[in-house]
Symmetry: C2
Subunit: 202 residues, 2 copies
């Protein structure tokens, strides 16, 4: 079984969607080895406990960034994690963290990168007047919202959308995209050519 760690700071709606997909058998050969948060009171951590998953809080408050990252890395290595899933983990990772899990950290961003990086991507897209929005699952590298793209999903912005209704529909796509991207990566059935993630034919 491939062992996943999910890192979150909040509700963890993507964590829940991924776990639900696993329970439905949609991510075969994988299990969630632990759910880790930098906030002890993150609702996603409570959900993990309710679901019988191992949950770990390593509070970041008052800790230096690299000290905190080292503690997290140690925890992930102890749990023999194969893939690290960021699901609303509101921390920039240090280069040491990224180097410890090369091409084994995934993040999801609520826009079609490279458009609208950074915070509040859905509002950015709405305010820009984009008519196609979406989400991106990508490997994490040293630059923010930048690594190799595993999967993108697009949706149309409707004339009667608000930023909130658009955000809700993007979130729905995120839940589908993240499970599919994890399947793709765990299959190992791909090559990366420069920045291009290329699934192999079976």
């Amino acid at each position: 079984m491939k062992r996943l760690a999910v890192l979150l700071s909040g509700r963890g709606s993507n964590f829940i969607a991924i776990h639900d997909a696993m329970l439905r058998g949609e991510i075969p050969g994988a299990e969630i080895a632990l759910v880790l948060s930098n906030k002890a009171d993150a609702p996603g951590l409570a959900t993990a406990r309710e679901r019988g998953l191992i949950s770990v809080a390593i509070p970041s408050k008052g800790m230096k960034r690299d000290e905190h990252d080292q503690a997290v890395i140690a925890e992930l290595q102890r749990a023999e994690v194969d893939l690290v899933i960021l699901a609303g983990y509101m921390r920039l990772l240090t280069p040491a963290f990224i180097a410890a899990f090369p091409q084994r950290i995934l993040n999801i961003h609520p826009s079609l990168l490279p458009a609208f990086p950074g915070l509040d991507a859905q509002h950015q897209a709405f305010d820009y007047g984009a008519q196609i929005a979406g989400c991106t699952v990508h490997f994490v590298d040293e630059q923010m919202d930048h690594g190799v793209i595993v999967l993108q999903r697009a949706i149309a912005v409707n004339p009667d959308d608000t930023a909130e209704s658009l955000s809700a529909r993007i979130l729905h796509e995120e839940h589908i995209a993240y499970a599919e991207a994890i399947r793709r990566v765990l299959s190992g059935n791909y090559t990366i050519c420069n920045r291009r993630f290329i699934p192999k034919k079976n």
Copy 2:
């Protein structure tokens, strides 16, 4: 009848697609009043002549940019043009040009703006490893590839795509998008709220 001017510097494949759509009755209430190029030998200009359309060459070579733009503006005003369609017109427009046709100049760009502005957008998207590509029809403003978006169309990048096969499929989407965007704008049935182009309900 609404009078369109098409400006091009090359083959004008979008010009041909727009004219074909008109011949099929898909852009009702509109006609091409003239096809204008800054290059006397632009193949699109020859096509315009073959199709019995008024064609005008105003060579830009050796002319100052604002002189040339003034000559083009005069020609468009003489022809009482309602909407200016850029179809591979390889010139940056002066502010005077844009001011002469406020929210009445359309351009098409082969990416989902604001991603991949500038030259060779299709290759940029391919090299970036984008998995969703597309095209954008937008009003022209003072900034390059920036004005209010009238329409975007998205396509998936396939694992076996080359930059060339991707470009060809984007071009196909451009031909559909430009005719539809012209219909939307000519209908007058929209509002622009900040940067958002919002079609009105009938």
